[in-house]
Amino acid sequence: MIRSRPVRRPPLGVVLVALLMLALGETAGAAMSRLKPEIQRYAAARIAANPAAHGFSGSAEYDDEVRDRAIFTAEAGLSFFHLHGEGVGLVLFFASALVAAVVPGRRARGVLYALLTLGGLFPLGYLVYGAAVLELGRDAGVELAEHWILTPLGVSAIAGLAGLALALARRRA
């Protein structure tokens, strides 16, 4: 029988972020399903409260189309949050477990944990995406979330994963 030696785990703070992303992702999925009418009503109310941001013209036909598109985009933000919360939570968990197990050097591990954990917060960008679309209008909201949250956190995740790949390649060599 082959028995492996005990495998080191990542710090609990990193594990907690991964777990919170999974829990938030699951909860968002349930909310999307059970509270769809309430979410749509809330989104419509927020859009009505910010007519200038959405470029309402006073023409009912045009305004209805703008409102429908904004609600659809806000719901898409919540749907992306559900999907990415589950996926990125798992990526953070397994990647940080690999860092703990195979990356030598406390400082290198610390840098990779920090990058991966920041990247693990990436799904929150989609919550901001959904909320910002309602408050600032569709294009401005998407731009804000992409530029200030999704891009930096996504880059952090990519850098962390690239660092892990590099560490694994150096370990093999």
Partner: protein, 180 residues
Amino acid sequence: MTEPDSSTWGVPPRWVLLIAVLSIVAAEVGGGAMGRFKIELTRWARDRMLAQPSVHGLVGVRDVDERILDEALVKFDAGLRLFHMHAEGMGLVIVATSMIAVTVIQHTAARRAIVTLLTVGGAGYPVGYLAWSALIPTYGVERSKTIAEWFVWVPFGTATIVALWCLAGFVAVRTIKSES
């Protein structure tokens, strides 16, 4: 089940890992079957729906009925796809979260309860999508969704969500304790 240790991973019980792997296998097989037997599955669902026109609101006018059948078939296909996606994801969620639970939770009863909820909830929830798809031809889109929701999604989904938040609570407490 291995006893929790401060700096290394605990290994979840074998039955938990087996269920997680079976969930992933079922997802893979489901994905493969969807691709390989797409025409046969669509034909089966369509024939079943045509055999029960009143359930689906078919009126005998081709233009109207084809639109209704197409919409139901899209949902039938979506149910299979969502089963494929969720069973793969939840299999991995079971592995990850049960590892965390056996590593972090020291109280035996709490650890067992959370691992059981995570495993049963995680493996059961995706089956709801399969049930939804299978029931659409017989009961219609909305009625089969209600059945899947109350018999599968709500109980199993709730089990998973409750267990995840409890586990997050345990990890948060351990994190705070280890910091102080």
